[in-house]
Amino acid sequence: MKLLTSLCLALSVLLVGGMAFAQQSDVQQQQERRLVQPGNNAPVWREVRKEAQEHTTTVRGRETGVLVQSAGQTWRQIRNGPVTFYGGWLVVLAVLIIAAFYFARGSIKLHERPTGRLILRFGTAEQVVHWTSAISFCVLGLSGLTLLFGKYVLLPVIGYLLFGWLTALAKNLHNFVAPLFILSVVVMIVMWLRDNLPRAYDFQWFRKSWAFMMHGEHVPSGRFNAGEKVWFWLGVIGLSIAVSWSGVILLFPNFDQTRAVMQEAWIWHASAALIYIAIALGHIYMGTIGVEGAYGNMRTGYTDETWAKEHHQIWLDETKSGRTAPGGAVPAGAPHMKEKS
């Protein structure tokens, strides 16, 4: 043990000494070159081009001591290159696939007539949280798309004056709506975590998902089906964390984070957000025109028994047998079922 400690100590002394020596030799090289080969200042310019190397300056501010940063050009190429190109086409492709699916398949309709018996599917708290995150997501998505693609898509159409006003609005909306989105998603994750835990029957759903989508075959599901669960884990949890974490870094430049940190955060933010938007388009489609009755469920909180039977049979059975409380935060004594008036 003693040997190990002394070995570590010796190593660290060597390391620190080595670093000091390297620094010393850099400066010495610069000093010597001035005398030996005055026409070639290469050691000086190597020092100048060291990425994120802070030198001395009297001007206060972020990275004012850095003479040249090369990472900015790399960031520019990644942003204006792959992120804009592939990200843009990803969103366009998602829209095209959904449109093709809609025209080929049409919306998924109920097989049986609605019974008229309504079951509470989403409590008031769940609706509020869902719509808060949904609306804030749309605002963030649209403003973000404006900031990245507006220069190519909107500016040539609406001109500088209107576009300048629109992007200023987009930036401010993006900045001020973001905290609301983060908050609502955190609540949403806690609220729906239990109902999104994977169950054995979810794997069956994946096997039959094509038959369900194309031919309307019946696949029993819990409160959320396996597709919704994937959306929950991948989107609501995974992509939200990626987007929020990187977004907060960009949102608060007052913590003096360096340009390298903000460039990297931007690449994560834009990439994750574009994937998020592409997947969200699928969710929005399924929740509106893709599945008959789906929108009304979240809008009113109540669903028809036929809809519940055809889409979430296991949840319906559990609700009816009283094993699971229907909906979310239901006040005690509130009617879980009600007759359509």
């Binding site: 001395t56 009297t58 501010g61 040249v68 960031w75 507006g150 500016l155 500088y160 300048g164 430049p253």
Partner: protein, 214 residues
């Protein structure tokens, strides 16, 4: 018309910060914003100390122009990169992309909210009418319109900082290098004006400086 450039002679700069002061005074730059700064490497080490004055270099293929989401940047016939503050949204992307750390943001609110970007204009003002009151208030003095060169370079006591027609200042510098036999590197020109010989042309698609000697 000429292709305007800055040239800093690291062999001559004595870190007096006269250029920084001249810029602030001439353009009445607000507090917290410095369009120009002097950076010293190996400060205090005899024989290894070098100082360089940095501001916007008015790049040929300007990264700020490429990443701006609102396209506020434009290039004058003199090759000077200017911007329209009325359109700027303060996103900070030009600051991420700029190799020289030129874009500055006055704080416009809590949490470091960025105001409209401010940077060196090569003393050439902005999109407003030349020498107008609004132009001065937003961008500072338009010395080029008055037939003068940038205040920083004009004020430089050792003439380390040269500003003007790229070909003319390159000639002055070449003569200096030949006389003293050292310090031939032109700092930042490769980054700002592209690889190859000093005075490289802007890439295709950008307005070409007219009348520039090759």
């Amino acid at each position: 018309m000429a292709r305007m450039k800055f040239l800093v002679d690291a062999e001559r700069c004595i870190e007096c910060n006269g250029c920084v002061t001249a810029c602030k005074q001439e353009n009445e730059v607000p507090w917290g914003v410095n369009r120009r700064r002097v950076v010293t490497i190996n400060d205090g080490i005899v024989g290894a100390e070098k100082s360089i004055s940095v501001a916007c270099m008015h790049c040929s293929d300007a990264p700020c122009m490429a990443v701006c989401p609102v396209d506020v940047f434009y290039r004058t016939d003199d090759g000077v990169v200017l911007h329209d503050k009325d359109l700027c949204i303060g996103c900070g992307y030009c600051f991420y992309a700029c190799p020289f750390g030129a874009p500055q943001f006055p704080q416009a609110g809590a949490f470091g909210l960025r105001g409209k970007m401010d940077k060196c204009t090569f003393c050439a003002g902005g999109p407003e009418p030349d020498k107008s009151e609004t132009e001065f208030r937003k961008y500072g003095r338009n010395r080029l319109a008055e037939g003068k060169l940038p205040a920083c370079a004009e004020m430089c006591s050792t003439k380390a900082l040269l500003g003007g027609d790229g070909d003319v200042i390159a000639d002055i510098y070449r003569e200096r290098v030949l006389r003293r036999g050292k310090g031939s590197e032109v700092w930042g020109w490769g980054t700002a004006y592209g690889p190859g010989k000093p005075g490289a042309q802007p890439p295709a698609g950008q307005p070409q400086p007219t009348g520039a000697r090759s």
